[in-house]
């Protein structure tokens, strides 16, 4: 019975929080009439599209959970190759570099992009190659036992 009371209490609490949040959000809405709430119901006529940044934040949260879960299970044997592998993966910045280098932007901006692209590709190439080189060394059994 106490549990029912507890849960009932929680839901009463919900109502209070709801009212508070409601007031807060109504105020926030008034402050920024052209935010996404309105966008959902009415056409957005603001010139700059509002990035749906909350989705991106969700993606970040979820990826971090995955990253921690997956990396924590990487074999202790492979921590050195892991460092160079993630190194190569973080060179995904290549995506941004290609856009900046290849788009029809002013030349000084594209030069920045080209340097970034060079740096990223260097990381990709050297990161994957050296990881592979190290991983090739790990063997479960000896091939042949040479005489010294």
């Amino acid at each position: 019975m106490t549990r029912i009371l507890k849960i009932g209490f929680i839901f009463a609490f919900v109502a209070v929080v709801a009212i508070g949040l409601s007031a807060a959000s109504k105020q926030a809405q008034q402050q920024a009439e052209d935010t996404t709430v309105v966008q959902l119901e009415a056409p957005d006529v603001h010139p700059v599209p509002d990035t749906d940044y909350w989705s991106l934040v969700f993606v970040f949260l979820l990826s971090t959970f995955i990253g921690v879960g997956v990396v924590a299970r990487v074999s202790r044997l492979l921590h050195t190759p892991l460092m160079s592998l993630t190194n190569a993966i973080s060179a995904i910045a290549v995506v941004g570099s290609i856009i900046v280098t290849g788009s029809d932007f002013p030349e000084d901006i594209r030069i920045l992009g080209a340097i970034a692209l060079f740096a990223s590709v260097t990381n990709i190439v050297s990161g994957f190659l050296i990881t592979d080189r190290m991983l090739k060394m790990f063997k479960a059994t000896r091939k042949e036992v040479e005489q010294p």
């Binding site: 202790r76 993630t86 995904i92 990709i124």
Partner: protein
């Protein structure tokens, strides 16, 4: 963006996750690289296919230069892997920072309404993280490569931490100001100021940290490089960048946590503790008495053993003694002796350092046993051979609260029936403290360079055998 491109990004995301997942077992690890290369190829192809990407020659040129530099960078000696990794983080930070700068000036020129609060915040984060990773990692790489013009020993001065943190806070404050007034009159000045401060902070952050603490610092910088890719994802509204960056960020974080735990130290201690310097002062202790053993004697005892555990450490890496060690392993296993390697999580100078070296020398990973798995069996071990390891077998870690390694888990070499310790001198190891294991009743020193001593042992053993 078209659906094709987004689909390619989605597949690339999944592949990156599988790539890290397959690293959980050496058997599946090779697949990791293939998944990673495929994912990266997809990402590059999809981005290149965007209709607004038109300057193909520029792209091809930059990629070509990247290959020309990248391929040799991947062929460095395994001992140079830490500095290569650091250099690579520097490149990653640079790329993120430059893209952030480019996007800022682009949006500035397109008009003030492009610089939304969200975008400017993301750009500031990207630029801050990117450039501090850039200079910080360059410094770290320099220290590890032992370049002459970068001081190896920590450089400290009074009030250093106040200066560093003050600089960081100022840069952050300027960032907040920029976010609030992205097109204000000062913004043309604010943005470069943030860049310069970030570059300076990267240098100042590393200066007080000793060369030997670099592995942990590199891992933290790894995290930052990942986070700067995440920030770029926010700037470009791109989930693939966010995921890949977050994977990298968590990997760096976890590796540095593992290292800190295995050394029983905290992040703060590593970053602001100037560890190496304090210890250097302690180095000269009173000399106690060591028992030495001859190569012949050691070989004889080894031949009598039925179970041998080899404990490699930084000294084996320095001496490049892994191949000789493999020969020792061959000689012993040929006699039917069970030989295992006991690997401490922070033996050497980076996580997994010993495993890579031993695997390079063709020692099966099934004989490379982690600390937690081998310790319960150490009392059954007839001979433990310590090759260039010191702190990771120092029993003082168990009880001596005054030592910097107190509380750090160690490999229980002192439980073996006999211990041979190979090192060049009576000098202490990384933590700068005497190791009472070397004075123990059952310990015998084999002084000399690890490669030479192990080589002599092997020669003795193979000679003994042919004499049979």
């Amino acid at each position: 963006m078209t659906d094709f491109i987004q689909l390619a990004y989605l597949v690339a995301t999944a592949l990156f996750i599988f790539s890290l997942h397959w690293m959980n077992n050496p058997k599946t690890a090779r697949k990791s690289v293939y998944a990673g290369v495929l994912a990266m190829t997809l990402a590059v192809a999809a981005t290149w296919s965007r209709p607004d990407v038109v300057h193909h020659l520029w792209i091809i040129g930059a990629i070509a230069v990247g290959f020309i530099v990248g391929v040799p960078l991947s062929r460095v000696a395994l001992t140079a892997v830490p500095q290569r990794t650091a250099l690579s983080h520097a490149f990653g930070g640079l790329a993120a920072g430059l893209v952030g700068v480019a996007k800022f000036y682009l949006w500035t020129s397109e008009g003030p309404e492009q610089l939304t609060t969200f975008r400017v915040s993301a750009i500031v984060a990207e630029v801050l993280l990117g450039f501090l990773t850039f200079t910080g990692s360059l410094m770290a790489a320099g220290k590890l490569q032992e370049l002459k013009w970068i001081p190896q020993r920590p450089v400290t001065y009074p009030g250093q931490n106040v200066v560093n943190i003050g600089l960081l806070l100022t840069a952050l404050g300027l960032g907040v100001w920029l976010v609030l007034n992205p097109t204000g009159p000062a913004s043309g000045l604010l943005f470069p100021a943030i860049i310069v401060m970030s570059l300076a902070f990267g240098v100042l952050l590393i200066i007080p940290i000793g060369g030997a603490d670099m592995p942990t610092v590199i891992s933290i910088l790894n995290s930052y490089a990942g986070l700067s890719a995440v920030a770029m994802g926010f700037v470009l509204d791109n989930s693939l960048l966010i995921t890949a960056g977050a994977l990298d960020g968590s990997s760096g974080l976890i590796l540095s946590i593992i290292m800190c735990r295995a050394m029983n130290r905290s992040f703060v201690n590593v970053l602001f503790g100037a560890f190496g310097k304090v210890q250097a002062a302690k180095a000269g202790g009173e000399a106690k008495v060591y028992k030495e053993e001859t190569i012949e004697g050691a070989a004889q005892i080894l031949e009598q053993a039925s179970s041998v555990v080899i404990i490699p450490g930084y000294g084996m890496a320095v001496a490049q003694a892994q191949h000789r060690t493999r020969e020792l392993y061959d000689q012993l296993t040929k006699r039917g002796i069970s030989v295992k390697f006991a690997i401490h999580p922070v033996a050497g100078r980076m996580p997994g350092h010993m495993n890579v070296l031993l695997s390079e020398a063709d020692i099966p990973y099934t004989d490379q046993i982690g600390m937690d798995d081998i310790n319960p069996d150490m009392h059954q071990c007839d001979v433990a051979i310590v090759i260039g390891a010191n702190d990771v077998v120092n029993p003082a870690a168990r009880y001596d609260k005054s030592t910097p390694i107190f509380g750090m888990p160690i490999i229980d070499a002192d439980k073996a029936k006999t211990v041979f310790a190979i090192k060049r001198s009576k000098n202490p190891g990384f933590a700068g403290i005497d190791n009472e294991l070397y004075f123990a009743d059952r310990t015998f020193m084999l002084f000399g360079d690890a490669k030479a001593v192990v080589g002599d042992l092997v020669k003795q053993l193979s000679g003994a055998q042919s004499g049979h």
